[in-house]
Symmetry: C2
Subunit: 774 residues, 2 copies
């Protein structure tokens, strides 16, 4: 891997000792030794185990649920149906943005309230002394269903003949919205030299975290503690408090080690909620752990957009306007804000380009499939896929090199901050260097001239230039100095693989002139952290890091006042490094940080200063930080079989100041792997009865190492002005850029056959058929 370090901002960053350093992850030793403590690893004395009875049907009335036989079985503690929940003091539904939906739609009930709306929906729950006894007893619950017609496709669900998912929402359109200026866009299209259009499917995906979702709920004093696989412990506490109708302060949510999330561990699902409900009812610990199959069936899915789109441009390659109309599948129930999420995807439709007019119409549509919610990227991959496929199509239409087409439309570095026609305001950017580096690194010119390899496979190179909005919402950060000088930093984000403990410790260490090893980082416990928004949307370093930096600076300022008092100097004259405060120009006079910490908690504080040495910040950037980059994929397509191999992959990313380059690259590698697999393999498939056909890892095709190419990473550094670290998020870049880069490469390879599009996943049959049909 090449790493070029030449930007002036990187130069400045060298002042920092640890920010910018590729330190090893402090999380790894325990995980590699098998000492991680994941939710299902937690032993609670007297724990019972909850297993769901799930609907085999996508759409049906539940006529009768008979639990008597199950209740009589050995080791069974209880069996519950909706009637039990309804009779309790909890309303038992996942929150939904009711007032913002088209129609009267109830929240997802923890157990079916008389109807099921997707295969796998929980209908009853059995609690037993072991998970095996519970599973056996769940088999013994008899449910009588009256089947109804299924509908799995969003566009079809809007049709007149489609079954109605909710009576209060007869057309199945949960929510709809538009972005941009329709009249201006119409005018641009009318005036432009050329228009290209595409019908695109952003294939439905299923998150495959290493660890399935799980929860262990148990009474803790008068309160309830829920350990769970969470990306957002405070968010889940709010969700659970809502569903259980208890005050938030009576709940403690703890997220221990979490093995991946990709979004679905930030959502409010029935499993965790039912475990919490049952633990309160039984006054004993209840554990629920999803099987891998249950995660496929009933964990929130992602993507599933069907889009008709068009790009208007002139003969010189200048883009004039963009139109998109999307049906987004939200599945059988709203899950939190899931129906509203697709309405905002269009905000990124300008990408890196100066697009004068944009109009985007989106409908979120109920179908009888599992709920769909944000999945790594959460709208950004959908937008960039539309844009970058159109860009390629337009370049081909003009016969212009796609790189050159991009160059002609890039927003110039002096344009920032800039508001796009899609309504997004970009903070900073310098796009062309990343594009040129990607071209250089992939040996673009040579590839453009190569049609086939020696083995006869067709060669293609595809580009994707993208922006990624990162760092929304607020986060709390506490930096606490103990009397012995040790430091603990608390953040409301939660690492589920990101390595925040490593990153945040580097950040605090620089601010407090100490070694990262002397900084503890705490996340994932609502009892220890003021408030958290969580880890998603590439926000943690930007927002959580920002909060921690603000607190660390406040701590440093107070510490400096104490040190100055001790050294009989002006606070402005003391410098902190290597655990010592020194007077500038008189380095022999010093006081240790530990002595300052002791003084802050003792009686040697400066007159009038409060005791303690800690600070709490709630940081929220005024606007999002827009990471960007250009990725290039090289594919080889077997003309005999249609099989596509990604041969090489170049990722040039700019996420502003990089706190830990190794972790940044890890994020890029993982995202690219996921993006390539979306492009080539992954797809949730429902049959027409609404039965999930891709319900196992083998059927669904998760990425494996053999299918991930060598990934070459480079970077530029354009700091963000939105946060004290100058950082931009990097968690989703790969999933955004890789799908269009790979599909563009396939189209490039198939150019001799006149193929202008192949839908994702680009499987051999589809390629073969496209070659044949063109």
């Amino acid at each position: 891997m090449t790493e070029r370090e030449e930007s002036p901002t990187e130069e400045q960053a060298r002042d920092a000792r640890f920010v910018g350093s590729a330190r090893e992850r402090r999380e790894d030793p325990a995980l590699l030794r098998g000492e991680g403590q994941f939710t299902d690893d937690i032993d609670a004395p007297d724990a019972s185990h909850l297993v769901f009875v799930r609907s085999p049907h996508a759409h049906a009335d539940v006529v009768e649920v008979e639990t008597a036989r199950a209740e009589g079985m050995d080791g069974v503690v209880a069996a519950y149906t909706w009637a039990d929940v309804e009779a309790s003091d909890a309303h038992g539904r996942m929150g939904a943005p009711t007032e913002r939906l088209n129609g009267d739609v109830p929240g997802h009930p923890v157990l079916a309230d008389g109807r099921v709306r997707y295969q796998g929906q929980p209908v009853a729950a059995v609690v037993a002394e072991s998970p095996y006894l519970a599973a056996d007893a769940a088999e013994a619950v008899a449910v009588e269903y009256d089947r109804l017609d299924a509908v799995t496709d969003a566009a079809a669900a809007r049709g007149d003949d489609a079954p109605t998912v909710f009576e209060g929402c007869p057309d199945n359109v949960a929510a709809s919205g538009e972005l941009g200026d329709e009249a201006a866009t119409d005018a641009a299209f009318a005036d432009a030299d050329r228009v290209v259009d595409l019908d695109l499917v952003n294939n439905r995906l299923i998150p495959n975290a290493l660890e399935p979702r799980a929860a262990l709920a148990r009474p803790e004093g008068d309160r309830l503690r829920v350990d769970m696989t969470s990306q957002s412990p405070h968010g889940h506490r709010s969700d659970l408090a809502d569903a259980l109708d208890v005050p938030e302060r009576d709940l403690r949510v703890v997220a221990p080690d979490v093995g991946g999330g990709f979004g679905h561990k930030g959502h409010h699902h029935p499993g965790e909620t039912m475990a919490a409900w049952a633990a309160r009812r039984l006054d004993r610990p209840v554990k629920w752990t999803a099987t891998r199959s249950e995660n496929y069936l009933a964990g929130a899915h992602g993507r599933d957009h069907v889009t008709t789109c068009a790009l208007a441009f002139d003969d010189d390659g200048r883009i004039r306007g963009l139109r998109a109309e999307t049906d987004a599948n939200v599945g059988g129930y709203p899950l939190g804000s899931s129906p509203l999420l697709p309405l905002w995807y269009g905000r990124l439709l300008a990408g890196q380009y100066d697009v004068p007019a944009i109009h985007c119409v989106t409908r979120s549509v109920f179908t009888t499939t599992a709920p769909v919610h944000s999945y790594r990227g959460a709208g950004r991959p959908e937008a960039i896929y539309v844009l970058e496929r159109l860009v390629r199509r337009a370049a081909d239409d003009l016969g212009m090199d796609p790189a050159e087409f991009r160059r002609r439309n890039l927003l110039p570095p002096d344009a920032f901050p800039v508001e796009t026609a899609a309504g997004a305001t970009y903070d900073s950017g310098d796009y062309e260097p990343a594009l040129e580096r990607a071209l250089d690194a992939v040996d673009y010119e040579t590839l453009r001239e190569t049609e086939t390899r020696d083995d006869g496979r067709l060669v293609g190179v595809g580009l994707a230039s993208f922006v990624e909005s990162t760092g929304g919402g607020f986060e709390s950060g506490v930096v606490r100095v103990h009397p012995d000088g040790g430091v603990t930093a608390f953040a409301g984000t939660h690492s589920h693989g990101q390595g925040h403990a490593t990153t945040y410790a580097q950040v605090v260490a620089d601010e407090l002139g100490m070694n990262p090893d002397d900084v503890d980082v705490v996340e994932g416990d609502t009892d220890r952290i003021p408030r958290g928004t969580g880890t998603f949307g590439s926000r943690s370093v930007v927002v959580g890091g920002g909060a921690i930096v603000e607190s660390a600076r406040e701590v440093r300022e107070k510490a400096a006042r104490i040190a100055a008092d001790e050294l009989e100097a002006d606070p402005g004259d003391v410098e902190l490094a290597d655990g010592e405060f020194r007077i500038a120009g008189a380095p022999e006079r010093s006081v240790s940080f530990a002595a300052v910490a002791a003084a802050a908690h003792g009686s040697d504080r400066p007159e009038g200063m409060d005791a303690g040495l800690e600070a709490t910040s709630f940081f929220e950037p005024e606007r999002s930080a827009y990471a960007f980059g250009t990725h290039a994929a090289v594919v080889a397509v077997d003309p005999e079989t249609g099989e596509v191999e990604v041969d090489r992959y170049v990722a040039v990313d700019d996420c502003g100041v990089r706190v830990n380059p190794t972790l940044v690259e890890g994020q890029i590698h993982g995202g690219v792997a996921q993006g390539i697999r979306q492009a080539l393999h992954e797809r949730a498939v429902y049959d027409e009865d609404g039965t999930l056909a891709s319900g196992t890892m083998a059927d669904y095709k998760v990425p494996d190492a053999g299918h991930v190419p060598e990934i070459h990473t480079e970077h530029t550094v354009t700091p963000s002005p939105t946060n004290p670290l100058g950082a931009k998020g990097i968690g989703e870049a790969g999933t955004i850029a890789a799908p269009p880069a790979v599909v563009n490469a396939v189209v490039d390879a198939l150019a001799p056959y006149g193929v202008d599009h192949v839908d994702m996943p680009v499987t051999p049959p589809r390629v073969w058929r496209a070659m044949r049909d063109s």
Copy 2:
């Protein structure tokens, strides 16, 4: 019980809805139902149990410790001696203020390091699968001792023939100090019309908390969690971190329900420390629970002052000066700051009086007895006992009524703040009303004229006017508003019976215009609270309450800004009551506190305002608040047997603003009961070999209900300017006032016999002997 409510400050307090209200303790229902969770109640999976082998000798060299037989017994996990601790990475000693002691004195080792210095000192420890197996195995540990001479009396330990406790401190004087002005006092004594003197013993006491000390130490992730009977969880975390040589951040100390403390649960003892050391070493939970006998033998004792004192005064009753010289027994080891504590007792020697000159010399002396440290009152009872006994003696010398003698010397209400000749600065006071009320309530004039009752018993009335320094050090307080409007208040103090959850909730409720039931209070967990000093020295409401009020006010101010924004009003114009913000003069416009809380965590905040609704304060009063009062005891003495009965007791206290009068009275009742028992019954007795003769409840004579008289309480209210509540502490008043009040009453009863003093405890033989010998 009469309660007069007529002071103007009480009038002002009626503005507050809940401060001043005698609400029931929210702690009681669970405790009364047996649902309290005390340390020994906690079940930890795989817990092992630690039992000490304790020295039967007061002073001996430990020649050999043989643990092999114990280690071979069923269920024994390990047996440890000092050699194991010494070879570990922990220094294993209780901290001591080494540099401030006279000589080279090591800290108390968790296991004997070659010598034992008090009966009951831990010599070895056995860990086994059950406490019974551990106790059996401890019996099997063979220890060979080489006995040395014991010395149990502080004055004797200073003698030339006394055995040396520490070689580095040959005269056994651990520390010494003086207060006041010797020359001025000498001059006052030379110039005064009269001088009286007394030799006084403040008898050695042993704390008798309902719950003995206990600890359960267990690994929690990479850290160690120690649940323990603590008055000061953060203080104990610092102590444990020190003894174990680990960073504070690697320890979590939790104090669950704690059944009384009286000081000794704030100290750093071997038991809790050894459990923590063993849990780290074994990497499994280790529980240690003191037996009642062990608490007698080796829990820190209290008092044990021997004082020679004198008062100089003029014929008109005006006090001219006071002298005191004290030997304070600190036992066989320093325990934290224990040798320094007695050096400050003299600060209260002026009491309520204008004493122009004071000189006090104090020596803390090592003896071969259990360590002595602060016990409810912690120096205050010792000082007031000296003063009030001298005052009585002086009045008798003059033939003046003791109440009149006091009146002539009281500091006048316009004197405050005032610095006494003993170096204390009193914040506020109005002493005469409390004195007069006490006289009135006890029917003083009648009693003064009564020599005997109809049953022939001698009647006596005794007074004690006192001040009590309260509220030292800092405390942290967090007030956190959750998004649903619920409130949690966190304080660094820890209730071990005081009812802080009730009190603090009242305080927060008034500040935030809500009901106390909607305020949760959290104490006792170092992971949830920024930093704590603890509950002792009558400081919790003053300092912890002050910190919580400061935070609540900051929260209210921010909430008002949000409400004003919502109501389009000026923040100064919105009022908060009953959970609603309203505009003054336009009550129909309102926004709920819960809606404001939601807005603070959402996106509807006023421009530029940080998210969140919480505040953290570190509050430290600039100086102590001095509570005061006058107590009166009425005794009947049987001239045949010398038996003393306290017939009636009047307590008039002024602790400034009283947050919850019921809890204030509870503190007075408990303290008076303890004080009466010190006066009449309690005493730790060592024989000349240093064997504790009073090692059981029956031998030691703890208070029982039958010996506690009717206690009549009244109060005045002189707010303290030192803290936002205007409160003064009340936790120790009874233990301060009751001993001199009772002894003065006994002397009053025995006046016909010419008895001018009887030492505490005033037992029948002593009374009988005094009557005979006078």
